[in-house]
């Protein structure tokens, strides 16, 4: 029984990580694969989404229940009153009002207890936070790329990288956003399902988001706009000559894909139960997604899913086994891991730049449909007196 539980937990975790990365890689595929935007600041939108989850729901519920105003404000709410009284044994000042970042443990514990008994409120918290995160992501996608959106890709790459780095610095040093160096816990909106099942529900939420991101990416890529994106990537001047506003298309893609990645970030923060700025670094949330997309096959939707899956699964394996190497080596095995990853990517770029599944021509209409259109056109073209 214990073993099946462990296996289940392992699988659930794997799926959650996979789904979180899929939101990132799908959006990166839209940017880099289809439109040719070198988003070296991918971590920016994902982290922004996570920070949004660390920032908004706790504060909002705190205001809603009056946790910051002292115990009189919520005296008739038995769960909250009991919970805060419990914490007041350790720190009497909490009865006068809680501070979100400073008394984060107390705030989130008490709010989680409230949410535990209120599935509807929990659900609205998730929806609201995801929407807020998406909005933040969209705004950041626009702002971060604005200075360089009209210039060559390399300027855009440098700017996005710098922007992402600065957002990380701010998240790390400004505790009001997401607790800074210590991070914050997030009130658990999945607590109402009870016990360990919350991870399952959190994973399902992530998976729904990932599937939506994937389906969206598929639809866009086979739509007329998908072809325009490819035109921007392959022939900027030609696209412009045909009346397409290249800058606006790039902006649109960046805004949408940053929003998608940010929603993934918010759901990931709910899954993990907290946010800490150091977890959102350049390697884990910018570089790894790039490896996944390039490995799977840029501009091939299925390839990106495959790349993400292979990468996440092999990461699990590596994490599982790598520490058995630790005593043998004179240095931390983490670096062997990163070294190997860098080398693999360079080899990949040279030996198989198209990835495992190469890009295919855009999907066209079904053959029967094309034939029927042609025959209808012929019908019309035929002169009426011809028997």
């Amino acid at each position: 029984m214990v073993e099946t539980n462990l296996v289940l937990l392992f699988v659930v975790d794997l799926v959650a990580v996979f789904a979180a990365y899929l939101t990132v890689t799908s959006s990166l595929n839209m940017e880099f694969g289809y439109t040719g935007i070198p988003d070296f600041g991918k971590v920016l939108s994902f982290a922004a989404g996570a920070f949004a989850a660390g920032f908004l729901p706790g504060r909002l519920l705190e205001q809603l229940f009056g946790l910051d105003r002292g115990i009189q404000a919520y005296a008739n709410n038995k769960i909250l009153a009991d919970c805060v009284t419990e914490f007041s044994f350790r720190k009497p000042e909490v009865l006068q009002g809680l501070k979100y970042v400073e008394d984060n443990v107390a705030v989130t514990t008490c709010l989680t207890r409230v949410l535990q008994n209120d599935p509807l409120l929990s659900l609205s918290v998730v929806v609201l936070t995801v929407a807020f995160a998406g909005g933040i992501g969209a705004v950041l996608g626009f702002v971060a790329s604005y200075p360089a959106i009209r210039l060559r890709e390399d300027y855009l790459a440098m700017t996005l990288l710098a922007m992402a780095e600065v957002v990380n610095v701010v998240g790390y040093n400004y505790p009001e956003i997401a607790g800074g160096t210590l991070g914050v816990a997030v009130p658990d909106p999945y607590a109402w399902v009870g016990g360990g099942r919350r991870f399952l529900v959190a994973t399902i939420a992530l998976a729904i988001m990932a599937v939506m991101a994937y389906v969206y990416m598929r639809r866009v890529s086979s739509s007329p706009f998908g072809r325009v994106m490819k035109a921007v990537r392959d022939g900027e001047v030609a696209a412009e000559a045909l009346g397409k506003d290249v800058v606006k298309i790039r902006q649109k893609v960046l805004v949408v894909s940053s929003a998608v990645a940010a929603t993934g970030g918010a759901l990931w923060a709910f899954y993990a139960g907290g946010v800490i700025a150091t977890a959102y670094d350049r390697v884990t949330w910018t570089f790894w997604p790039w490896v996944m997309v390039i490995m799977g096959g840029a501009a091939n939707n299925l390839g990106v899913v495959l790349g993400t899956g292979i990468f996440v699964a092999s990461r699990k394996l590596i994490d599982f086994y790598k520490f058995s190497l630790e005593p043998v080596l004179p240095f931390s095995v983490v670096w062997v891991d990163r070294l190997a990853l860098g080398i693999v990517l360079i080899i990949m770029l040279i030996a198989r730049p198209q990835g495992i599944l190469a890009e295919k021509p855009s999907m066209t209409l079904k053959k029967e449909k094309i034939l029927s259109i042609i025959s209808r056109a012929k019908e019309k073209a035929r002169p009426p007196n011809n028997q």
């Binding site: 210039l151 890709e153 300027y155 790459a157 440098m158 990288l161 360079i346």
Partner: protein, 308 residues
């Protein structure tokens, strides 16, 4: 002579940053790809200084050529292993940039391994170290405070003479202007690539070696400085190496003095946000003068501001 410590920081950082952005601009000019590993080339220099002082107990200045050589070789490896094969295959700009990022990861990992090795085997503090005590004292000043600007100026003068007065330098400029035409005229374009990448890496390694003598360092130092290098190069315009020099000086001074000034007004909480200043410099440059400081037609700009 008493000098405010902050001015020392500013002078050392600004002159070394200009060496770094000259290097980045040089490789950008020949290959048209920004080298995302350029910051970590400086980290290599830092670890050369650490090794020479803490492990070998010798004069860090004797090892400056070694830092130059190692930095240059690291950049050459990137060129031969990734840039040239990719260019041959007609890979796009984005693939080239991704390759430099991947190489950056490799370099950072290697430096971290080396740092772990130093600590485990020789019990040397190899992260968050400060090596100022190993520096010389020149004219009552810490050595690097004088040598950094002097070396920066000398190197740029040497580079100027090399590019304008020597045969190979002129050939190099011709190749930068128009690779195909230069090749037709019998200039060995491939050698131009190799020399540029080596020189750029060398300058990076040298700058890193001296940065390590002054600032607190760790293997990730270069990655953090990368934003400043990009900002400096963009401010300089990425169009000629003198632009890189000027951009480096401007951004370096603005970063250190600006943070200090804001810290004085707003309080010390400002200091961790130092990275915002190069970012702002970059954004302003991109919005107002995307061709950089050397691309601005100053007389026109002044006329515009002053009014006809």
């Amino acid at each position: 002579m008493a000098i405010e410590p902050i001015f020392r920081d500013a002078i050392v950082f600004a002159s070394l940053l200009s060496l770094l952005s000259v290097g980045l601009t040089l490789t950008y000019l020949v290959t048209k790809v920004p080298n995302f590993a350029h910051g970590t080339i400086a980290s290599i220099g830092i670890y050369v200084t650490l090794t020479s002082t803490e492990l070998l107990q010798s004069d860090p200045y004797e090892f400056l050529p070694a830092a130059f050589l190692l930095g240059g070789c690291a950049n050459l490896i990137l060129y031969f292993v990734a840039i040239r094969p990719l260019n041959r295959r007609g890979a796009g700009l984005v693939s080239l940039m991704v390759a430099t990022i991947a190489y950056d990861l490799v370099l950072v990992a290697s430096l971290n391994m080396y740092a772990d090795y130093l600590t485990k085997t020789f019990k040397i503090a190899s992260r968050d170290f400060i090596l100022r005590k190993h520096d010389l004292v020149l004219l009552g000043q810490p050595g690097v405070f004088l040598t950094a600007p002097v070396i920066a100026v000398v190197l740029v003068v040497v580079l100027y003479v090399f590019l304008t007065k020597t045969r190979f330098g002129v050939a190099m400029r011709a190749a930068i202007e128009d690779m195909a035409l230069a090749g037709v005229l019998g200039i060995n374009v491939r050698r131009v690539y190799v020399v540029s990448w080596f020189l750029a890496g060398g300058l990076g390694g040298l700058a890193g070696a001296m940065l390590g003598l002054w600032f607190q360092s760790d293997p990730g130092y270069g990655q953090r400085v990368l934003i400043s290098i990009f900002a400096a190069s963009v401010v300089g315009g990425l169009a000629n190496i003198y632009g890189g020099m000027i951009g480096g000086l401007l951004v370096g001074l603005a970063e250190i003095l600006g943070t200090n000034w804001l810290g004085g007004i707003l309080g010390t909480w400002v200091f961790p946000y130092r990275a915002i200043i190069p970012l702002l410099a970059m954004v302003i440059a991109l919005l107002l003068a995307p061709k950089g400081i050397t691309g601005v037609k100053w007389s026109q700009a002044i006329r515009k501001v002053v009014g006809r």
